[in-house]
Symmetry: C2
Subunit: 290 residues, 2 copies
């Protein structure tokens, strides 16, 4: 008997981002009709290259949606005290509906000392403990971080039913793994969280109907991790030995068994700025009592 070879399809981020953007364009027009001008504040300390790249993408996305954006740039060596003063000012500005702070912050700034400063209703990326708690509770008034929300948008757009399905999340970070687990749980998936200390990781991953790879190791996940027909959401962004941008999954290998897999680049990463814009509009509506 010949070995069955399932060939999955690549599910890209662009159509998801476009669909979210289209909805937001409509919503922003309505808000402007009520004299509400949605505005994003981007807080960046220093000139980290990946921050700058993300910022360019975010500004483009906001412009597309009709959302104003202002970048607050600070010197790499700004003191914690000065940073707190500035962030408090930005948070107090009523024209700014939502704030994105690039993290990690430089060493002299203790994130625990600043994470309470942004009002939860302006905190678009789950910096505030109030939003961390809300996401854990499944309270939809909260703001989960943008990346796991992008994972959920991908699954929704491509019609993946999660109820009762087994989801395995590889990675337990506060920016992806844990909130992704909570969001999947909220959609009634049965969720397993794996990490660096997990025994037989490939075996556990093969239990997954939906596998979310957020481990930060270039192309670690291959076909041996995949149950035939599974859906693979690759959150990793790594540079491999050849200097090429790759995910946590080896796409070519996984696609032999997966029914769908997100590519890297052009996968989940392409959706995050749309999620940021969506969170901004949500924040703007919350603050305007709409």
């Amino acid at each position: 008997m010949a070995r069955e070879k399932t060939m999955g399809i690549l599910i890209k981020g662009k159509p998801v981002a476009d669909s979210i953007t289209e909805e937001l364009i409509e919503e922003v027009i309505k808000l402007k009709g009520k004299n509400i001008l949605p505005k994003l504040g981007v807080v960046r300390v220093g000139k980290n290259e990946s921050d700058l790249a993300y910022e360019r993408g975010a500004l483009k996305r906001m412009a597309k949606c009709g959302i104003e954006a202002q970048v607050f740039e600070f010197e790499e060596n700004i003191s914690q005290k000065d940073f707190i003063t500035k962030l408090t000012q930005i948070n107090g500005d009523k024209s700014v509906h939502g704030i994105l702070v690039f993290r990690p912050l430089p060493k002299q700034i203790d994130e625990n000392a600043v994470k309470h400063i942004i009002s939860p209703e302006k905190d678009l990326d789950s910096f505030s403990p109030v939003n961390v708690a809300k996401v854990t509770e499944g309270d939809e008034t909260g703001f989960p971080p943008c990346t796991p929300t992008a994972v959920m948008e991908m699954l929704k757009y491509y019609g993946v039913d999660l109820k009762g399905k087994r989801a395995v999340v590889v990675g337990r970070s506060m920016v992806v793994g844990k909130p992704a687990a909570m969001l999947l749980l909220k959609e009634n998936a049965t969720v397993t969280i794996c990490h660096s200390r997990t025994n037989d990781l490939p075996g556990i991953c093969r239990e997954a109907d939906i596998l979310v790879a957020a481990v930060g190791r270039a192309e670690m996940v291959d076909a041996s991790y995949i149950k035939t027909g599974a859906i693979v959401i690759d959150v990793g962004i790594n540079v491999n030995k050849e200097g090429k941008l790759v995910g946590d999954a080896n796409t070519a290998s996984c696609i032999e068994k997966a029914s769908m897999i997100t590519p890297v680049p052009a996968g989940v990463g392409s959706v995050t700025t749309s999620v940021l814009a969506k969170h901004l509009v949500k924040a703007c509506k919350l603050q305007s009592g709409i």
Copy 2:
């Protein structure tokens, strides 16, 4: 070949509670030597029977440890406004180091409106979103709810190594399931969270090296849910059809396959007041800068 029959052992809560209490007695003596008098505030609205039973147990435990305790009792029909005023006063009292609020509160009081009132460092049972966030983050300065902490104390006392083991938590409540999952994850278990929508629950439970049952259905978990040699922690407290107090697991059935199982009563439930006392001492030390 005869069917192998593993007979597990019952692991009771009392030795765990006694061991914690002994440690606390020493610590409280030291605190009193520094003129610090640890004190618990118990906030109870109405006279719910199970609240009263827990309160009696808690007061006894505090007395054993040398911890002072004061009960603040309010009428079942207290208004939200009055409750907020009272809780704010209690929280502001410097002689009270930790507060336990019996939940659920009556309908006229919105928990979302009061959960921010208790200072995180006095919040012994994870009412405050700050503690929910800390538990999710794995930040040990936080206070997880007492019941999942009691689960961890049981596992620690009976020498269960969690690293790399598969833990399955049945139930996703904010008082047990989710915080238990986060605490197990912190100890490097690979954690699966199941719930009412999980498909093939017995099959998934059979993957568990450690099974935590927190589902609230009398004796639902039987031997068919248990992998040979697994450890079963039964968090349920239910009254069965015969009016008998039982757990979520059918102990007699499970013990045929499990290596260890906690009984109900006399299991996890017996440890929670010791955890409350331990949290109170931790809170007292935090507030005294020790």
